[in-house]
Protein backbone atom coordinates (compact mmCIF):
# COMPACT_ATOMS: atom_id res chain seq x y z
CA UNK A 1 0.00 0.00 0.00
CA UNK A 2 2.93 2.30 -0.64
CA UNK A 3 1.24 3.65 -3.76
CA UNK A 4 -2.32 3.43 -2.37
CA UNK A 5 -3.39 2.17 -5.81
CA UNK A 6 -5.57 -0.81 -4.93
CA UNK A 7 -9.07 -1.73 -6.04
CA UNK A 8 -11.18 -4.86 -6.13
CA UNK A 9 -13.78 -6.34 -8.42
CA UNK A 10 -16.41 -8.90 -7.55
CA UNK A 11 -16.19 -11.74 -10.04
CA UNK A 12 -17.53 -15.22 -10.51
CA UNK A 13 -15.34 -18.02 -11.74
CA UNK A 14 -12.67 -20.51 -10.75
CA UNK A 15 -8.91 -20.45 -10.29
CA UNK A 16 -6.38 -23.21 -9.95
CA UNK A 17 -3.84 -22.69 -7.19
CA UNK A 18 -1.28 -24.85 -5.47
CA UNK A 19 -4.03 -26.82 -3.73
CA UNK A 20 -6.23 -27.27 -6.78
CA UNK A 21 -9.25 -25.46 -8.14
CA UNK A 22 -11.31 -23.10 -6.04
CA UNK A 23 -14.23 -20.75 -6.63
CA UNK A 24 -13.15 -17.13 -7.15
CA UNK A 25 -15.30 -14.40 -5.57
CA UNK A 26 -13.14 -11.38 -6.29
CA UNK A 27 -10.00 -9.97 -7.84
CA UNK A 28 -7.75 -7.42 -6.19
CA UNK A 29 -6.14 -5.16 -8.77
CA UNK A 30 -3.29 -3.02 -7.51
CA UNK A 31 -0.20 -1.17 -8.66
CA UNK A 32 2.31 -1.50 -5.87
CA UNK A 33 5.44 -3.33 -4.70
CA UNK A 34 5.51 -6.89 -6.01
CA UNK A 35 6.59 -9.98 -4.11
CA UNK A 36 8.43 -11.72 -6.94
CA UNK A 37 8.78 -9.93 -10.27
CA UNK A 38 11.97 -7.82 -10.25
CA UNK A 39 10.29 -4.42 -10.51
CA UNK A 40 9.82 -1.66 -7.96
CA UNK A 41 6.09 -1.61 -8.77
CA UNK A 42 3.92 -3.96 -10.77
CA UNK A 43 0.33 -4.42 -11.84
CA UNK A 44 -0.86 -7.10 -9.45
CA UNK A 45 -3.84 -9.39 -9.90
CA UNK A 46 -4.92 -11.45 -6.90
CA UNK A 47 -7.77 -13.88 -7.62
CA UNK A 48 -9.27 -14.74 -4.23
CA UNK A 49 -12.17 -16.30 -2.40
CA UNK A 50 -12.68 -14.22 0.73
CA UNK A 51 -14.77 -16.89 2.35
CA UNK A 52 -12.21 -19.64 1.88
CA UNK A 53 -9.28 -18.17 3.82
CA UNK A 54 -6.29 -16.10 2.82
CA UNK A 55 -4.64 -19.10 1.17
CA UNK A 56 -7.33 -19.26 -1.53
CA UNK A 57 -5.34 -17.03 -3.83
CA UNK A 58 -3.78 -17.04 -7.27
CA UNK A 59 -1.55 -14.06 -7.90
CA UNK A 60 0.03 -12.59 -11.01
CA UNK A 61 2.49 -9.68 -11.20
CA UNK A 62 3.02 -7.89 -14.52
CA UNK A 63 4.86 -4.86 -15.80
CA UNK A 64 2.58 -2.10 -17.06
CA UNK A 65 3.07 -2.82 -20.76
CA UNK A 66 2.29 -6.49 -20.26
CA UNK A 67 -0.78 -5.68 -18.17
CA UNK A 68 -2.06 -3.28 -20.82
CA UNK A 69 -1.45 -5.84 -23.58
CA UNK A 70 -3.33 -8.42 -21.49
CA UNK A 71 -6.25 -6.08 -20.89
CA UNK A 72 -6.53 -5.33 -24.61
CA UNK A 73 -6.29 -9.03 -25.48
CA UNK A 74 -9.01 -9.86 -22.94
CA UNK A 75 -11.32 -7.25 -24.45
CA UNK A 76 -10.57 -8.55 -27.94
CA UNK A 77 -11.37 -12.13 -26.98
CA UNK A 78 -14.56 -10.98 -25.27
CA UNK A 79 -15.66 -9.28 -28.49
CA UNK A 80 -15.18 -12.56 -30.34
CA UNK A 81 -16.95 -14.43 -27.51
CA UNK A 82 -19.92 -12.05 -27.67
CA UNK A 83 -20.20 -12.63 -31.43
CA UNK A 84 -19.93 -16.38 -30.94
CA UNK A 85 -22.67 -16.39 -28.32
CA UNK A 86 -24.91 -14.15 -30.46
CA UNK A 87 -24.68 -16.35 -33.56
CA UNK A 88 -27.72 -18.55 -34.14
CA UNK A 89 -27.24 -22.18 -33.21
CA UNK A 90 -26.70 -24.29 -36.31
Amino acid sequence: MCTNISHSAAVSGSAQGGNGWFAVSGVYVSYDHPFHVPLEHSLNLDFVNDGAGLGARVSVELDRDSARALAERILGVLSEADAYEAAPAK
Binding site: M1, C2, T3, N4, S6, S8, Y28, S30, D32, H33, F35, P38, L39, E40, H41, N44, D46, V48, G53, L54, G55, R57, S59
Partner: protein, 252 residues
Protein backbone atom coordinates in the same frame (compact mmCIF):
# COMPACT_ATOMS: atom_id res chain seq x y z
CA UNK B 1 33.57 -9.87 17.98
CA UNK B 2 36.14 -11.91 19.84
CA UNK B 3 36.52 -15.53 18.68
CA UNK B 4 37.08 -16.77 22.24
CA UNK B 5 34.19 -14.86 23.82
CA UNK B 6 30.79 -16.41 24.53
CA UNK B 7 27.72 -15.23 22.69
CA UNK B 8 24.30 -16.72 22.33
CA UNK B 9 20.70 -15.76 21.71
CA UNK B 10 17.16 -16.93 22.06
CA UNK B 11 14.66 -16.27 19.27
CA UNK B 12 11.02 -17.29 19.12
CA UNK B 13 7.50 -16.18 18.37
CA UNK B 14 5.52 -15.04 21.36
CA UNK B 15 2.57 -12.73 21.97
CA UNK B 16 2.55 -9.18 23.26
CA UNK B 17 -0.33 -6.90 24.26
CA UNK B 18 -0.86 -4.25 21.63
CA UNK B 19 -3.67 -1.89 20.74
CA UNK B 20 -6.89 -2.46 22.71
CA UNK B 21 -5.05 -5.11 24.73
CA UNK B 22 -5.06 -7.43 21.71
CA UNK B 23 -2.48 -10.19 22.03
CA UNK B 24 -0.56 -10.04 18.76
CA UNK B 25 2.21 -12.32 17.57
CA UNK B 26 5.72 -10.97 17.80
CA UNK B 27 9.11 -12.40 16.95
CA UNK B 28 11.48 -11.74 19.83
CA UNK B 29 15.23 -12.27 19.65
CA UNK B 30 17.34 -11.55 22.73
CA UNK B 31 21.01 -12.02 23.59
CA UNK B 32 21.64 -14.53 26.36
CA UNK B 33 23.15 -13.18 29.55
CA UNK B 34 22.28 -10.54 32.13
CA UNK B 35 22.97 -7.55 29.87
CA UNK B 36 21.97 -4.86 30.28
CA UNK B 37 20.92 -4.57 26.65
CA UNK B 38 19.22 -1.76 24.75
CA UNK B 39 15.92 -2.54 23.04
CA UNK B 40 14.77 -2.19 19.44
CA UNK B 41 11.30 -2.52 17.90
CA UNK B 42 11.27 -3.48 14.22
CA UNK B 43 8.33 -2.49 12.00
CA UNK B 44 8.06 -4.89 9.06
CA UNK B 45 7.60 -3.71 5.51
CA UNK B 46 4.61 -3.90 3.18
CA UNK B 47 5.47 -7.43 1.93
CA UNK B 48 4.71 -8.58 5.46
CA UNK B 49 6.02 -10.16 8.64
CA UNK B 50 8.43 -12.29 6.73
CA UNK B 51 11.74 -14.10 6.64
CA UNK B 52 13.79 -10.96 5.95
CA UNK B 53 12.38 -9.33 9.08
CA UNK B 54 12.91 -12.43 11.20
CA UNK B 55 16.53 -12.45 10.03
CA UNK B 56 16.88 -8.72 10.76
CA UNK B 57 15.47 -9.24 14.26
CA UNK B 58 18.08 -11.93 14.94
CA UNK B 59 20.76 -9.64 13.50
CA UNK B 60 19.88 -6.99 16.07
CA UNK B 61 20.05 -9.61 18.84
CA UNK B 62 23.45 -10.74 17.58
CA UNK B 63 24.56 -7.12 17.88
CA UNK B 64 23.45 -7.00 21.52
CA UNK B 65 19.88 -5.71 21.36
CA UNK B 66 16.68 -7.11 22.86
CA UNK B 67 14.71 -7.04 19.61
CA UNK B 68 11.04 -7.48 18.85
CA UNK B 69 9.23 -7.52 15.53
CA UNK B 70 5.44 -7.49 16.00
CA UNK B 71 3.12 -8.92 13.36
CA UNK B 72 1.38 -5.67 12.48
CA UNK B 73 -0.96 -7.64 10.18
CA UNK B 74 -1.90 -10.18 12.90
CA UNK B 75 -5.52 -9.10 13.12
CA UNK B 76 -6.07 -9.52 9.38
CA UNK B 77 -5.46 -13.25 9.47
CA UNK B 78 -2.83 -15.87 8.97
CA UNK B 79 -1.25 -17.79 6.11
CA UNK B 80 1.99 -17.27 4.26
CA UNK B 81 3.36 -13.72 4.67
CA UNK B 82 2.28 -13.00 1.08
CA UNK B 83 -1.27 -14.32 1.71
CA UNK B 84 -1.67 -11.86 4.58
CA UNK B 85 0.07 -8.96 2.87
CA UNK B 86 -2.12 -9.33 -0.23
CA UNK B 87 -5.19 -8.92 1.96
CA UNK B 88 -3.69 -5.87 3.70
CA UNK B 89 -2.76 -4.38 0.33
CA UNK B 90 -6.34 -4.87 -0.87
CA UNK B 91 -7.58 -3.10 2.25
CA UNK B 92 -5.01 -0.31 1.66
CA UNK B 93 -3.10 -0.72 4.85
CA UNK B 94 -3.68 -0.82 8.59
CA UNK B 95 -4.72 2.01 10.94
CA UNK B 96 -1.92 4.31 12.10
CA UNK B 97 -3.43 4.57 15.57
CA UNK B 98 -3.27 0.78 15.88
CA UNK B 99 0.39 0.67 14.81
CA UNK B 100 1.36 3.28 17.39
CA UNK B 101 -0.47 1.39 20.16
CA UNK B 102 1.14 -1.90 19.08
CA UNK B 103 4.50 -0.12 19.15
CA UNK B 104 3.85 1.15 22.68
CA UNK B 105 3.05 -2.36 23.82
CA UNK B 106 6.34 -3.61 22.37
CA UNK B 107 8.41 -0.77 23.86
CA UNK B 108 6.87 -1.29 27.30
CA UNK B 109 7.43 -5.06 27.07
CA UNK B 110 11.11 -4.78 26.16
CA UNK B 111 11.81 -2.07 28.75
CA UNK B 112 10.18 -4.25 31.41
CA UNK B 113 12.69 -7.06 30.85
CA UNK B 114 15.26 -7.45 33.65
CA UNK B 115 17.99 -7.36 30.98
CA UNK B 116 16.89 -3.95 29.65
CA UNK B 117 19.24 -0.97 29.89
CA UNK B 118 16.21 1.31 29.85
CA UNK B 119 16.64 2.61 26.30
CA UNK B 120 14.66 1.66 23.20
CA UNK B 121 14.84 2.46 19.52
CA UNK B 122 12.49 1.94 16.60
CA UNK B 123 13.51 0.71 13.14
CA UNK B 124 11.60 0.13 9.94
CA UNK B 125 11.91 -0.09 6.16
CA UNK B 126 9.31 0.83 3.52
CA UNK B 127 5.92 1.19 5.26
CA UNK B 128 7.83 0.15 8.39
CA UNK B 129 10.00 3.25 8.08
CA UNK B 130 6.86 5.36 8.03
CA UNK B 131 5.55 3.42 11.05
CA UNK B 132 8.86 3.88 12.89
CA UNK B 133 8.61 7.64 12.36
CA UNK B 134 5.00 7.64 13.55
CA UNK B 135 5.97 5.71 16.68
CA UNK B 136 8.92 8.00 17.33
CA UNK B 137 6.60 10.99 17.25
CA UNK B 138 3.63 9.52 19.11
CA UNK B 139 4.73 6.65 21.38
CA UNK B 140 6.37 7.19 24.78
CA UNK B 141 9.85 5.98 25.58
CA UNK B 142 11.50 6.08 22.14
CA UNK B 143 15.16 7.06 22.45
CA UNK B 144 16.25 6.70 18.79
CA UNK B 145 14.44 6.22 15.49
CA UNK B 146 15.52 4.75 12.16
CA UNK B 147 13.48 5.38 9.02
CA UNK B 148 14.74 3.44 5.99
CA UNK B 149 13.06 4.72 2.81
CA UNK B 150 9.69 5.14 4.51
CA UNK B 151 7.21 6.36 1.89
CA UNK B 152 4.16 8.28 3.02
CA UNK B 153 5.79 10.40 5.76
CA UNK B 154 4.97 13.30 3.46
CA UNK B 155 1.39 12.94 2.19
CA UNK B 156 -0.91 15.05 0.07
CA UNK B 157 -4.32 15.79 1.46
CA UNK B 158 -5.99 13.66 -1.23
CA UNK B 159 -4.09 10.60 0.06
CA UNK B 160 -5.32 10.92 3.67
CA UNK B 161 -7.76 8.19 4.69
CA UNK B 162 -9.63 7.05 7.78
CA UNK B 163 -6.72 4.69 8.51
CA UNK B 164 -4.16 7.40 7.78
CA UNK B 165 -5.89 10.65 8.78
CA UNK B 166 -2.71 12.65 9.43
CA UNK B 167 0.52 12.80 7.47
CA UNK B 168 3.35 11.69 9.80
CA UNK B 169 5.34 14.79 8.90
CA UNK B 170 2.65 16.82 10.68
CA UNK B 171 3.71 15.14 13.94
CA UNK B 172 7.33 16.28 13.61
CA UNK B 173 7.09 18.84 16.43
CA UNK B 174 6.48 15.91 18.81
CA UNK B 175 9.62 13.99 17.77
CA UNK B 176 11.89 13.96 20.80
CA UNK B 177 14.62 11.54 19.84
CA UNK B 178 17.38 11.54 17.22
CA UNK B 179 16.41 10.24 13.77
CA UNK B 180 18.50 8.33 11.22
CA UNK B 181 17.10 8.33 7.68
CA UNK B 182 18.53 6.35 4.77
CA UNK B 183 17.06 6.80 1.30
CA UNK B 184 17.67 5.92 -2.36
CA UNK B 185 17.94 8.65 -4.98
CA UNK B 186 15.94 6.59 -7.49
CA UNK B 187 13.08 5.77 -5.09
CA UNK B 188 9.53 6.76 -6.08
CA UNK B 189 8.20 6.56 -2.52
CA UNK B 190 9.68 8.55 -0.98
CA UNK B 191 11.06 10.70 -3.78
CA UNK B 192 14.14 12.87 -3.12
CA UNK B 193 11.79 15.87 -3.11
CA UNK B 194 9.66 14.29 -0.38
CA UNK B 195 12.78 13.50 1.66
CA UNK B 196 13.87 17.13 1.26
CA UNK B 197 10.46 18.25 2.52
CA UNK B 198 10.83 15.94 5.53
CA UNK B 199 14.32 17.28 6.20
CA UNK B 200 13.06 20.87 6.04
CA UNK B 201 10.40 20.09 8.65
CA UNK B 202 13.03 18.56 10.94
CA UNK B 203 15.20 21.66 10.59
CA UNK B 204 12.27 23.98 11.22
CA UNK B 205 11.49 22.18 14.48
CA UNK B 206 15.14 21.96 15.55
CA UNK B 207 15.22 18.15 15.58
CA UNK B 208 18.37 16.02 15.64
CA UNK B 209 18.63 13.96 12.47
CA UNK B 210 21.11 12.32 10.12
CA UNK B 211 19.94 11.73 6.53
CA UNK B 212 21.83 9.95 3.77
CA UNK B 213 20.63 9.77 0.16
CA UNK B 214 22.36 6.99 -1.79
CA UNK B 215 22.92 7.60 -5.52
CA UNK B 216 22.00 4.67 -7.76
CA UNK B 217 19.77 3.11 -5.12
CA UNK B 218 15.99 2.81 -5.28
CA UNK B 219 13.45 1.30 -2.92
CA UNK B 220 14.58 -1.60 -0.78
CA UNK B 221 18.34 -1.42 -1.27
CA UNK B 222 19.01 -3.41 1.93
CA UNK B 223 17.10 -6.43 0.61
CA UNK B 224 19.74 -8.94 -0.37
CA UNK B 225 16.94 -11.39 -1.24
CA UNK B 226 15.69 -9.11 -4.04
CA UNK B 227 18.58 -8.79 -6.48
CA UNK B 228 16.85 -6.07 -8.52
CA UNK B 229 16.59 -3.85 -5.44
CA UNK B 230 19.77 -4.77 -3.56
CA UNK B 231 22.64 -2.30 -3.70
CA UNK B 232 25.56 -3.91 -1.93
CA UNK B 233 27.69 -0.84 -1.26
CA UNK B 234 24.75 1.22 -0.03
CA UNK B 235 23.52 -1.65 2.15
CA UNK B 236 26.93 -2.27 3.74
CA UNK B 237 27.39 1.44 4.41
CA UNK B 238 23.81 1.74 5.63
CA UNK B 239 24.12 -1.06 8.17
CA UNK B 240 27.32 0.54 9.49
CA UNK B 241 25.39 3.80 9.96
CA UNK B 242 22.62 1.90 11.78
CA UNK B 243 25.03 0.34 14.31
CA UNK B 244 26.95 3.55 14.80
CA UNK B 245 23.77 5.58 15.33
CA UNK B 246 22.24 3.14 17.78
CA UNK B 247 25.52 2.72 19.64
CA UNK B 248 25.69 6.47 20.24
CA UNK B 249 22.07 6.87 21.31
CA UNK B 250 21.08 3.59 22.97
CA UNK B 251 24.37 2.62 24.56
CA UNK B 252 24.47 -0.68 22.70
Amino acid sequence: MQTDAYQGMTAEITTVAGANGDLIHAYVARPLGPGPFPSIVLFHHMPGWDAWYFEATRTFAAQGYNAICPDLYCRVGHGTPEDVAVKVRAEVGIPDVQVVADAQGCIDYLKSLPTSNGKAGVFGTCSGGRHAYLAACQAKGVDAAIDLWGGGVVMEEKDLTAKRPVAPIDYTSALDCPLLGLFGEDDRSPTPAQVATHEEALKQHGKAYEFTMYPGAGHGFFYHIFPAAYRAEAAVDGWKKVWDFLGRHLGG
